[in-house]
Amino acid sequence: MVKPILLFGYGNLSRGDDALGPLFLEYVESHFDLTNIDLLTDFQLQIEHALDLENRQLVLFIDASVACVNAFDFSELTPAKDDSYTTHAMSPAAVLAVYQSIKKQSPPPCFLLAIKGESFDLGEGMSVNAESNLSAACQFVKQLLDSPRLYAWRDFINV
């Protein structure tokens, strides 16, 4: 039985700031009641992850991003046939588009928490700035998980 909320943090723990997504999940795992929350991690997004969205009420993708405007950007996702389907690593919007194609229905409400990173080399530790950004994102998630409702999450969108 899947839980109504899915938090999906993805990235590679051994590639510097790429670890932001998985480390964010570790924080959630140790600080929150997970009765209604599934945590999922992977190196990168792929087509089969569309099936992980089934029967969810709210989905939050968490990823490192070099394109962040703020320390973290929180946005709502819509399905998009973007260029990422031409690589082994898909964007969350492309995963939603796969869901839509497979299920012939709209995906559940999905949001992206992009945490600003800057350094992604193999074997590197996390940068100082990324650690600070992770900390800010971890503070922010408390607001989200205290109000696990679509309209409440929409109020938190900052980009």
Binding site: Y10, G11, N12, L13, S14, R15, D17, D18, T41, D42, F43, Q44, L45, Q46, I47, E48, A50, L51, D63, A64, S65, V66, A67, A80, K81, D82, D83, S84, Y85, T86, T87, H88, A89, S91, A94, A97, V98, S101, I102, A114, G117, F120, D121, L122, G123
Partner: protein
């Protein structure tokens, strides 16, 4: 062969075209072409991001961390690195493959079949089927998984679910879909519960049916235009891979077999622990990527291909009935001892998916996978070598450790490195036979990517930060002036640089 196109004699007045990055492959690679004033190709090269960081990443760490650590080398086949490292550190604790507990051996094989199945399914259905179903020079807007799901919904959905099933096998055996710690030095850390076994059994017959259907599909696609498919990007090469002692297809453990262009055996049942005696790596000035070759044949003639085409070409038979029937049909289609068609990588990849599905079913019915004798230990050693047939081909992990269990030396030969020369030759074949003399367009340049994609190369690892990897095509005239530039953005939009 097309080695004469590796380095042009005079480069001063040649136009330079760059395909950067090559899409629908893992990691970052680029192709550069040098053209004369008549658009005749004078030089073609595939450049690949080097894996040099791997060894430094590993050295200095305690050996028991390796099976988990090396998974982070690659987001596409972490399980292959996991198992190759595990086989190597088995030796560090004094356990050779034949001494691994039976349950541990079978659980590792189950894990590996799941990995190969999901990797191959992703490659075919997601990354290559758009080219194969819509055409190599079809509109770029069609060459993607969404278009496949729209126009061929059943095929697209089967691809997603085959991939998902392979991931579920990995999750059940290792505890997690990624970052699992299934294999440890000398064995495995858990067996399958009855509930986990029954869960996987629920869908396995469906997976076998779909896998068999995918073999029929690729055969139909390939044979629908046989002369083209047997010629495109095709090069005549040696092949290398592991086989079982009786010559059967083997993905987890066996001896090295190499065959030449005619199918004659170069070496057989060779102990991979002595790989340094037969394989050397050449360095070339224009790339950091090495060029492995068989020492006995020399640099010029000793390069070889690895991966599904090599494995199916090299083996005497496959020990599961449906895959074996598919292999026989495949080998018969040319009438030659070896099939050299580069696009036949797809066909053989799907034969292996079928073999994996059949093998998973067989193992799920084997009570040993629920056994509890999972770890063995022997006399401590200071050097370990693990070799496995990863989805893309033969993968070598070689470690030396000191008395404090710290890795002092690591050497990895990944399958994409073994295919380096072959991929370059295929690029040159396509450049010479399909592009040379024509006005270059994006659909035409996709032919180069189709050739590379057939090998399913893993060009780097799992970094995937949002906002990276745009594609740029630059056209430079004979005087070295940039005369055109196309940019493909992350959202898929293609625009011409505003100055042109």
């Amino acid at each position: 062969m097309y080695e004469h196109l590796e380095t042009a004699e005079q480069t001063e007045n040649l136009k330079r075209v760059v395909v950067d990055p090559v899409s629908r492959v893992e990691g970052h690679g680029k192709v550069t072409l040098l053209l004369d004033e008549n658009n005749k190709v004078q030089q073609a090269r595939l450049h690949i991001v080097e894996f040099r960081g791997f060894e430094r990443f590993i050295q200095g760490r305690p050996y028991w961390e390796l099976p988990v650590l090396v998974q982070r080398l690659c987001g596409i086949c972490p399980v292959s690195h996991h198992l190759a490292a595990a086989k190597a550190i088995d030796q560090l604790v004094g356990i050779d493959p034949e001494n691994l507990p039976v349950s541990a051996d079978k659980l590792r094989r189950l894990l590996h079949f799941g990995q190969v199945m999901q990797s191959h399914a992703l490659h075919f259905f997601h990354l290559s089927s758009p080219d194969l179903l819509f055409g190599f020079e079809s509109d770029i807007g069609k060459r993607n998984i969404i278009a496949v799901l729209t126009d061929y919904p059943d095929i697209g959905l089967q691809g997603v679910k085959l991939r998902k099933y392979g991931q579920e096998v990995i999750r059940m055996v290792s505890g997690k879909r990624i970052h699992g710690t299934g294999a440890i030095a000398g064995g495995m850390n858990k067996s399958l519960t009855k509930a986990e076994r029954d869960y996987l059994l629920e869908d396995i017959d469906q997976m076998i049916t779909w896998a068999a259907g995918s073999v029929a599909l690729i055969k139909k696609v390939h044979c629908s235009n046989l002369p083209y498919y047997d010629d495109f990007a095709t090069i005549r090469t040696n092949y290398l891979g592991l086989t079982k002692p009786d010559g059967a297809l083997e993905l987890y453990h066996g001896g090295i077999r190499a065959k030449n262009v005619e199918g004659e055996t170069i070496l057989d049942h060779f102990d991979y622990c002595n790989y340094n005696d037969i394989i050397h790596e050449e360095v070339r000035s224009w790339t950091y990527m090495k060029f492995p070759y068989l020492l006995s044949l020399g640099k010029e003639d000793g390069w070889y291909r690895v991966g599904p085409l090599a494995r199916v070409n090299n083996c005497d038979y496959i020990n599961t009935p449906l895959a074996e029937a598919a292999r026989v049909e495949f080998k018969a289609h040319t009438g030659e001892a070896m099939v050299h068609s580069t696009l036949a990588f797809h066909w053989t990849r799907l034969i292996e998916v079928l073999h994996c599905a059949e093998s998973i079913k067989e193992l799920l019915h084997d009570p040993d996978i629920m056994g509890h004798d999972l770890v063995a230990q022997g006399e401590r050693r200071f050097e370990g070598i693990g070799v496995i047939e990863a989805p893309r081909g033969t993968l070598f992990h070689h470690y030396q450790v000191d008395e404090n269990d710290i890795v002092t030396k690591a050497n990895l030969i990944v399958s994409t490195t073994s295919n380096n020369m072959a991929m370059n030759e295929s690029v040159r074949q396509v450049a010479a036979e399909y592009l040379s003399g024509r006005e270059l367009t994006e659909p035409l340049l996709n032919n180069l990517e189709v050739a590379i994609r057939a090998y399913d190369p893993c060009l780097s690892c799992a970094t995937h930060a949002v906002g990276k990897m745009p594609l740029q095509l630059e056209l430079v005239d004979a005087q070295g002036q940039l005369i055109d530039k196309l940019i493909k953005h992350d959202d898929g939009q293609i625009e011409r640089d505003s100055q042109f």
